[in-house]
């Protein structure tokens, strides 16, 4: 049972901010690191969008700064283009979205929302963060090695990845490190949630972000070791000459795909479930209503996690895997859409008859619901095996994944940052700048990714350096130009966010304990909370979403407020 918060000790700067074991600092470290990687990944995407819209034209302004192994006279070379799309996806998935949602929000929120003074294993937690910077350095080092950074796609399919230059080894080692970080984090989250809840915080009184992060941690713990093994086997193939994925030595290239997707499909849920939790929280608070169907939300998360482990084959319908197996994966994949639909209807139910407040956090949460609907519906096309024959490996897939991971995860990340920023840093973010950032991002996001569905329907393949040469897709070039313009606006649209984020650290209005009039425990302590989080161990009396309850005069009723006091 957690005891009283330990008194603030005098810690050196290094202990306090760099090698800290405080879950809040570690959460913020994850947040900062992943935001930097998010911007870097975005810049890589802009370079490759340039090539797609204007193939063979020199990149303006910065083109000549690149070495000749990447660009010739400012023109992106095919080798570099291949590295760009590989590194864009790898950075975004392994270094931006997973660490932000799981690392940053997981660390920051779990102890605060369950009323614990810290994580169960603070040093393990610190280790989990400190695996990330070396991993980032290693993966980026590939750019400066002979042969360039990894260039086989983020899926790194062997046999191709067996023969590519040294940058592929950097990629493998780096992702192994990141995977280890995830596993350490997962162990910590599960233990903390099971053992360190405040008195009265039963499992079914936990806020939905904690539930989502709990299930996510279980997925991580079960799936990540499989990825790590696959990566390790490939590394052995590449370094000591084993043949796990090479048919000429009795291995099989499909083995990689099974192992990779056994992790990477659940990984999609690692990247979306915490977002769903955040969005549920933000929507309930801002609608001033209990979440509609709290229990069915939790069961839906569990169903997604469970089914998520038996759908990986839908990435392999056209891979040469026996088509009969494809049929069973089609059925499980279509069924997994059901819990997603339940969640969407529950969000709508939460908004229904609410008293909706609009803040940048809420706008981003609503965008999540709206965009997730598109990403979910487009998934049905792929789940249907015959339709997938045509759209597999086309831009339809690229559109789909970006509606899920940007339209979904990233909007949830923005919602979460706008919502918890006052608790993290003790200051409010600027609202007009937040709204400007939201509008630019929302419009440019749709302008960038919606037309990709059309490209996919035209049969435009992914990972093509120059799409203008194929007769069936050459006439889509104006759409590519349109997409690229929107992508640049999307990139520019992040400037108000960066200004807001760093500007508010200095000039933001001081935040009081509970600026959003919310119920969960983190809002009952100071902003930011002290080392140890709570002045006294909170006692929990009710569920997290008792908004507009007739028990209370106000339209909120904190979890730790004894009954009868507010009436």
């Amino acid at each position: 049972m957690p005891t009283l918060a330990h008194p603030e000790k005098r810690l050196s700067f290094w202990k306090k901010y760099i090698f800290s074991t405080d879950h809040k600092i570690i959460g913020i470290q994850f947040l900062m690191t992943s935001l930097v990687m998010f911007l870097l990944g975005g810049l890589l995407a802009l370079l490759l969008r340039w090539q797609l819209a204007f193939p063979g034209k020199p990149v303006p302004f910065i083109g000549n700064l690149f070495p000749t192994s990447m660009m010739a006279g400012g023109i992106i070379l095919p080798e570099f283009y291949d590295s760009l799309f590989t590194m864009h996806a790898s950075l975004m998935i392994f270094f931006a979205i997973i660490p932000i949602l799981v690392g940053a929000f997981g660390n920051f929120l779990i102890p605060l929302q369950i009323g614990a003074p810290d994580m169960a294993f603070p040093r393990l937690n610190m280790a989990s963060y400190w695996l990330v910077p070396p991993a980032a350095v290693i993966i980026l080092a590939g750019f400066f090695l002979e042969g360039g950074a990894a260039a086989t796609g983020w899926t790194a399919y062997p046999p191709l990845s067996e023969f590519e230059p040294i940058g592929q080894n950097c990629w493998l080692i780096s992702v192994i490190l990141i995977g280890t970080s995830s596993i350490l984090g997962a162990v910590n989250y599960i233990t903390t949630i099971l053992n360190m809840r405040a008195p009265g915080m039963t499992l079914f009184r936990m806020p939905l972000p904690v539930w989502a992060l709990f299930i996510t941690a279980i997925i991580s713990l079960l799936a990540t070791p499989v990825l790590a093994s696959a990566l390790f086997l490939l590394l052995l193939d590449r370094t000591i000459g084993t043949h796990f994925f090479l048919p000429q030595g009795g291995g099989h290239a499909l083995l990689w795909q099974h192992m990779f997707w056994f992790y990477s499909h659940p990984a999609v849920y690692i990247m979306i479930l915490p977002g769903m939790g955040i969005v549920s929280e933000v929507i309930s608070v801002h609608s001033r209503k209990p979440i509609f169907g709290y229990h069915s939300m939790i069961y839906a998360i569990m169903a997604i996690a469970g089914l998520g482990f038996i759908v990986w084959g839908h990435h392999m319908f056209q891979s040469g895997m026996n088509p009969t197996v494809g049929t069973s994966f089609m059925i499980s994949t279509l069924v997994i859409a059901v819990p997603s639909a339940i969640k969407t209807f529950n969000w709508l139910g939460t908004l229904w008859r609410g008293n909706i407040r609009y803040t940048p956090a809420m706008l981003n949460a609503i965008a999540f619901v709206s965009m997730f609907v598109i990403g979910g519906l487009s998934g049905i096309f792929m789940a249907s095996t015959p339709v997938d024959i045509f759209i597999h490996d086309t831009y339809f897939i690229v559109a789909h994944i970006h509606y899920v991971l940007f339209g979904g995860s990233m909007f949830a990340v923005f919602a979460g940052i706008y919502y918890w920023y006052p608790k993290m840093f003790g200051r409010m973010m600027n609202k007009p700048l937040g709204i400007l950032h939201f509008i630019l991002t929302f419009i440019a996001f749709n302008g960038t990714f919606f037309p990709m569905h059309i490209l996919g329907l035209g049969g435009m393949m992914r990972r093509i350096y120059d799409t203008t040469q194929y007769a069936h897709i050459a006439h889509f070039q104006p759409i590519n130009v349109f997409i690229t313009i929107n992508a640049f606006v999307l990139g520019m649209g992040q400037i108000p966010f960066i200004l807001n984020f760093f500007g508010s650290l200095l000039w933001g209005k001081k935040a009081d304990r509970n600026p959003w009039e919310a119920n969960t425990l983190e809002w009952s302590t100071t902003s930011p909370p002290p080392h140890g989080n709570f002045e006294t161990v909170p006692q929990v009396y009710r569920g997290p979403y008792e908004y507009s309850s007739p028990e209370s005069k106000q339209d909120w009723l904190p979890q730790d407020k004894p009954a009868g006091h507010g009436a």
Partner: protein
């Protein structure tokens, strides 16, 4: 693999020992290399001066001729790259056997194989290999180890220069931009190093890397001349890409003599490219053009705008139908959900002093909105299964189906037909690169494999026929069958849909759908060729 084995087909030509007055160690090297660097000029002159002063310099001259009638060089099909095709109005052939009117042979690399004792420092000025008109210029070239080779792309298309070096570092580099230059230096002697373009399979060049500068390439006259030789005993070798090598020994005794060695190749003895073993050539067969299928092949494609491409296989409409069913269902859900969302956002926006409606949910609606999507999704699964089984789980039973093998390599589609005997891997097989010909209205069954060649790895590709709505990954170590049947004639494309390396984006094949008669005629034509 290019360097021919020594001593193949050694029919010793008589050694002509006509001793002539030679030019003094001439500016031959300098003039030929046209060195732009003054420093280099100066040093060469100095060096040659030293030689002529101390030991003098002899010259080796001679002629290379060819006996018999050579088989015609293969025709190059540049259809794979329209940029290349546009360079040539007429038929282009591989420049491998070029015979002059006086029966002398061009493009023979003649060099001193052994006996050279003095090796001057390698020149600093580069030898240029130009990629122009989708051909290498020159086709045969030589340089001294340590002398740079400057590779230029003069075309506005991607070339991928691939040096199949054995004794030097192999390299494989994309050159996508017109005017792009690349400089490489080889430090180990190697005769001959083949250069090929991974984008344009017909492009080839041969480079002789020697420890010295004593070499010559025959041209329109069929003559060669190597000068600056000090007294001593030498072996001279003549190398030709088709006819292999021949060598002779000669002696230089006087400083200013001119020796003559002639080589004579026979058109009936060619060297096998892979092994270097000498083999007899067959008599070329006449090619007959029997049937004009151009109306069927040139039938215009349907314009489809920014939507699904034309649907031309027997099952493509069924796939499209399923697509439209899903589009309608998801479209209705999309508008329903987004409409409700927007309505709630406006209708229930903040009202001061108001509270939200206090409810934790409703079990009945939860059950309803669980069951309805589940029913729709299961129904879609059943609908999909029928078409899926037709396309991927069954192969056509028709006895007259066309059987084809396609071997995907980095980055081309090798197409193989069984030929008249209906059996694969027999001498009458028809083989093509990047050109798939099929008849309309007949099921075609293709067996897909991924192969490795000397310098290419077996990796995953994906055989994609957009207009047929067919896609199938080509998996190394597996032979996967797919089938399709065209509903119309015309010319279409094969795309590679799975990232397979640097040249993936150019891994484009061409599909010609013939009329039935046109296809038979095409087969006959191919069998004859």
């Amino acid at each position: 693999m290019k360097s021919k084995k020594d001593g193949i087909d050694e029919t010793k030509a008589p050694l002509h020992k006509s001793i002539k007055k030679s030019r003094p160690l001439s500016d031959f090297k300098i003039a030929k290399r046209a060195a732009p660097l003054c420093l280099f000029l100066f040093r060469s002159l100095l060096l040659s001066g030293m030689f002529s002063a101390s030991a003098g310099a002899a010259t080796l001259k001679g002629k290379v001729s060819l006996e018999g009638n050579p088989t015609a060089n293969p025709v190059i099909h540049m259809d794979a790259d329209p940029v290349c095709k546009a360079f040539y109005a007429e038929e282009v052939r591989v420049p491998s056997v070029l015979v002059n009117p006086d029966r002398t042979l061009q493009n023979v690399f003649v060099y001193i194989k052994s006996g050279v004792t003095h090796t001057p420092e390698a020149p600093k000025s580069p030898v240029v290999l130009d990629q122009k008109g989708c051909m290498y210029h020159p086709h045969i070239l030589g340089l001294q180890a340590g002398q740079p080779l400057s590779i230029v792309n003069s075309d506005s298309t991607l070339h991928n220069v691939h040096a199949l070096a054995k004794k030097n570092a192999e390299f494989n580099l994309g050159m996508p931009i017109q005017g792009m230059k690349l400089e490489k230096t080889f430090f180990n002697p190697e005769v001959m190093m083949k250069f090929k373009c991974d984008v344009h399979p017909w492009m080839g060049a041969y480079l002789g890397v020697l420890p010295h500068q004593f070499f010559s390439v025959t041209a329109e006259s069929g003559n060669f001349e190597i000068s600056g030789l000090a007294p001593g005993e030498y072996v001279v070798e003549a190398w030709h890409e088709v006819y292999g090598t021949k060598s002779e020994t000669f002696k230089v005794t006087h400083t200013d003599e001119t020796r003559e060695v002639n080589f004579n190749f026979s058109a009936s003895q060619i060297a096998d490219e892979a092994s270097g073993v000498s083999i007899k050539t067959g008599v070329p067969k006449p090619v007959r053009k029997s049937f004009d299928d151009s109306t069927a092949l040139n039938k215009p494609r349907k314009k489809t705008g920014w939507w699904l491409p034309e649907s031309i296989s027997t099952y493509s409409d069924k796939i499209d139908f399923l697509f439209y069913v899903i589009l309608w269902i998801t479209g209705i859900i999309f508008f329903g959900v987004q409409g409700a969302l927007i309505w709630f956002l406006i209708r229930y926006r903040r009202r001061p002093e108001a509270k939200g409606y206090f409810t934790h949910g409703n079990a009945r609606v939860e059950i309803i909105w669980t069951i309805i999507p589940a029913v729709i999704l299961i129904a879609l699964a059943f609908m999909g299964q029928k078409v899926w089984a037709e396309v991927k789980m069954t192969m056509p039973g028709a006895p007259d189906k066309i059987q084809i093998r396609i071997q995907a390599e980095q980055f081309a589609w090798n197409v193989q037909y069984p030929g008249a005997d209906g059996k694969f891997d027999t001498p009458d097989d028809i083989r093509n690169i990047n050109q798939l010909h099929i008849p309309v209205g007949k099921p075609v069954q293709v067996t897909l494999t991924s192969i490795e060649t000397a310098d290419k790895r077996a990796v995953i590709h994906s055989f994609f026929l957009p207009e047929f709505r067919l896609k199938q990954d080509v998996m190394p170590g597996m032979a996967i069958d797919v089938w399709f049947e065209a509903k119309r004639t015309g010319k279409y494309e094969i795309a590679c849909a799975e990232f397979c390396g640097l040249g993936h984006y150019r891994m484009r094949g061409f599909l010609s759908i013939h009329s039935p008669e046109g296809f038979d005629a095409w087969l006959a034509e191919q069998a004859a060729a």
